[in-house]
């Protein structure tokens, strides 16, 4: 299992604390197969001062505005993300495979009451899942926002990649809350 990946805390917690998930082993197994080890493939966090431009993203119920983005290879973009809906939404930059893996983690968050329809239970997020792991959602490629909240992500894109920006709150991606993110040409 790759250790150097996003959402390590959640992923490892699933494997480390089976007793909390009695009768639900299926989510732990395989949820990360191929989901990580992307390293440079998706790029990495950038410095705001280095950003070439700012892109505003509005999150509605359950779609983005805009619904597609193009960035130049190697470009650093500052995203201003605002949740204008009435439900919790995520803005997450990754590959389709990473999103699929993250959706299983988000399902866990719902099942543990960390994620409610319109609020995030930050207390519960800090719950020790064993070995100091928590369900905190603090990865640089993603923001998870309650209605009315805003956040910023500065992202340095690689020269080329097959990326999507997506909301992995259960059901939202499948309903179409995902946008294409063209890198390069």
């Amino acid at each position: 299992m790759m250790k150097n990946h996003l959402l390590r805390g959640v992923g490892a917690a699933l494997l480390a604390t089976p007793l909390l998930f009695a009768g639900q082993p299926v989510l732990a197994a395989g949820s990360h197969s191929g989901g990580h080890g992307h390293g440079e493939a998706i790029g990495g966090p950038g410095e705001a001062a280095q950003a070439d431009r700012t892109v505003e993203i509005a999150m509605h119920d359950n779609y983005y505005e805009p619904e597609r983005l193009s960035v130049a290879g190697g470009e650093t973009v500052r995203f201003l993300v605002r949740n204008e809906g009435s439900l919790v939404h995520e803005f997450n930059i990754g590959t389709a495979t990473m999103h699929a893996a993250h959706q299983e983690e988000m399902m866990m968050m719902v099942e543990h009451g960390v994620l409610e329809a319109d609020r995030i239970n930050h207390e519960r997020m800090k719950m020790d899942m064993g070995g100091g792991r928590t369900m905190e959602h603090d990865d640089p490629n993603s923001v998870l926002l309650e209605p009315g909240e805003s956040a910023e992500i500065v992202w340095r894109f690689p020269q080329s990649a097959d990326l999507e920006f997506a909301c992995n709150v259960p059901g939202h991606y499948e309903a179409g809350m995902v946008g294409s993110l063209e890198v390069g040409q």
């Binding site: 009768g23 509605h60 779609y63 399902m107 719902v110 099942e111 543990h112 009451g113 719950m127 059901g171």
Partner: protein
């Protein structure tokens, strides 16, 4: 052989639109200008016809609209003022009810309550505003014409953007078609209630049970069933149906096309007279985005049960260039409707085998559940004692042990302490404050939890389980995307006991059939709470016309609104209604022969302000 249904669609005619705008008063035109979407008006013409179709290899005469059965798909737009001219070309009276539409009482199409119906050769003109969006349907509300093919679909485009997107859009209308016409079926049921039950237990079953369970247990079991005047195989009153998708039999294979990677919206409508279906598309997950026309927070499942007259909209995303079977197996497992999603016509995928028919248990008889009614659980008023005397204490179910033994999973599933659920404190469980929201039923998608669907009696033989061990949609999963009504306490509770005498084929509410009952009187502006107690062993899809039923799933402000609420045997289900529509409304079980046999009430809404009353009267 593959066939694609000729989909007939009615859209508003341009001339109708012009006429509507021209007729608008200056004030109305100004009001329209203030709206982001200019108000439209459409005129539609429907005829009620006898139609010849090919079924079971021979020609049959059924009922339909504009020459087809199912009738055309009516496509409206939210905010539109529709005018629908309906001409009855039958030799008997008829009617059209717009199922699930919120409209003035005089436009609801129920003979005897809304109007007098449409005489042979006559035309009735419906005029009403479209105040909602989503998937609905229409059908005759006269006699048993619905059984004979008098139904069609309604698709209402929303005024704004939907909270989901898709590339293709198909209506998938399910129905049950019989060689006998509806009137004959009702007559046969009245004469012999098990006339159509092909799954009766035999003398062979009796000896098999004796060897498995012992003579006294078997005799006790048979005595209990005899006293209920029911049989464990009473899942469906009527069998020998052909099950159709968009009017086509399984071999005719209705097909919807897609390009791999596209999102396909399927609008499932159960237009059956009597048949519940368990729906799945092997190889595809279904993301449910609407229930009964109302947006729900998207929830992805492997299988769902659609009650008679419900609708569910799902989005599927086939990524492979292969065919997928839409498999709608009846709840009684006596047959299936089948269609296909494929990248090109003529393709097909494997059709799954029917699963074993369910057997009703003592839980479905109402003998094993005590006070475990769902609504009780949702309100934290369930005392520990009730739990102990109910499903938690198997010792109390002496009569039920033989059937319970076949369902060992249920006992485990109801052991809340063993759920290991992070948010459910063991302490709270002991004190009986069972908050469904905190239990997170909506998200427990694991097969061993499926047995815990709180909308079925613990131990019920009808509790759905996904064929592939995946997630089966529960009512508890349905959460309003955007609640229509603010939360507030109901002013009073009205008990609706669902009752019947199977031996005489009489179905009733609170023991009284429609003809002998007084209307249920509601006051305009109040919020009432209905307590449905199913005292029969059949599952009843209860349909309130004219106003929404807010289904209490324990989700508080996210409780979904529906037009039909299915009440399983041995359960208690609560709904609330904001009484916002004056007039006379039908309230009934949507199983056609239950409705016809007396499980029906008039709901009369009184005390409306003059304006509202005037609108209702038009």
């Amino acid at each position: 052989m593959t066939a694609r249904a000729e989909e007939t669609t009615m859209r508003r005619s341009p001339s109708g639109g012009r006429r509507g705008v021209a007729a608008a008063t200056l004030a109305a035109a100004l009001a329209a200008l203030a709206l982001p979407d200019i108000t439209t008006a459409g005129t539609y013409d429907l005829t009620i016809d006898k139609v010849t179709v090919e079924r079971g290899g021979s020609k049959q005469t059924v009922l339909g609209y504009n020459g087809s059965s199912p009738g055309p798909t009516l496509r409206f737009r939210e905010g539109e003022e529709v005018t629908i001219n309906v001409t009855n070309r039958l030799s008997v009276p008829s009617s059209i009810h717009w199922h699930g539409l919120i409209l003035p009482t005089g436009m609801d199409g129920v003979p005897g309550l809304s109007y007098e119906g449409i005489a042979p050769g006559g035309t009735f003109t419906y005029r009403f505003p479209i105040v909602q969006s989503g998937t609905y349907w229409f059908h005759s509300h006269s006699g048993q014409q619905e059984q004979d093919g008098a139904y069609g679909s309604i698709v209402i485009e929303p005024a704004g953007r939907e909270p989901f997107r898709y590339d293709r859009d198909y209506v998938v209308l399910l129905s049950d078609d019989h060689d006998h016409d509806g009137a004959s079926i009702l007559a046969n049921l009245k004469q012999m209630p098990d006339y159509y039950n092909r799954q009766q237990r035999t003398l062979g079953d009796f000896f098999a049970d004796v060897s498995a369970e012992g003579l006294s247990a078997t005799l006790a079991d048979r005595t209990d069933w005899g006293e209920m005047r029911m049989m464990p195989t009473d899942i469906a009153d009527v069998q020998d149906y052909r099950y159709l998708i968009n009017g086509l039999e399984p071999e005719q294979n209705w097909t919807g096309l897609f390009e791999p990677g596209e999102r396909v919206r399927l609008r499932f409508i159960n237009a059956s007279a009597m048949t519940y279906f368990d729906l799945r598309i092997p190889g595809l997950e279904m993301t449910v985005v609407q229930a009964d026309g109302n947006n729900v927070q998207p929830v992805t499942v492997d299988e769902l049960r659609i009650a008679v007259s419900e609708t569910y909209d799902v989005i599927v995303r086939p990524t492979e260039a292969q065919a997928y079977t839409i498999f709608a197996e009846t709840m009684a497992r006596d047959g299936y409707a089948r269609g296909t999603l494929a990248p090109s016509p003529g393709m097909s995928a494997e059709v799954p085998a029917l699963r074993e028919p369910p057997l009703l248990t003592m839980a479905d008889m109402g003998m094993a559940h005590g006070d475990m009614g769902h609504g009780d659980m949702g309100h934290g008023d369930m005392a520990t004692g009730d739990m102990d005397s109910g499903a938690m204490d198997t010792g109390a179910m002496s009569g039920g042990e033989s059937t319970m033994a076949a369902e060992p999973a249920e006992a485990e599933a109801m052991d809340h302490a063993a759920m290991g659920h992070g948010t459910m404190e063991a302490e709270a469980s002991r004190e009986g404050s069972m908050d469904h929201a905190a239990m997170g039923h909506g998200s427990m998608d694991h097969s061993d939890m499926a047995a815990g669907d709180s909308f079925y009696a613990p131990g019920s033989g009808l509790t759905p389980r996904a064929a592939d061990g995946g997630r089966f949609l529960s009512y508890a999963d349905l959460k309003a995307q955007k609640p229509l009504y603010a939360e507030r306490p109901a002013g009073r509770e009205i008990e609706i006991r669902l009752t019947g005498n199977m031996e005489r084929y009489i179905w009733s509410i609170n023991g009284i059939k429609y003809e002998d009952a007084e209307p249920i009187v509601l006051q305009y502006g109040e919020r009432v709470r209905f307590k449905f107690v199913n005292e029969t062993m059949m599952t009843h899809p209860m349909h309130l016309h004219g106003m929404w039923s807010i289904l209490d799933t324990g989700s508080g402000k996210w409780d979904p609104i529906k037009h039909v609420v299915s009440v399983a045997p041995g359960t208690t289900v609560y709904t609330e209604t904001e009484v916002d529509a004056p007039g006379r409304w039908a309230f009934h079980c949507h199983l056609l022969y239950h409705m016809a046999s007396g499980m029906f009430r008039e709901v009369r809404v009184e005390g409306a302000p003059q304006q509202a009353a005037a609108e209702a009267g038009r």
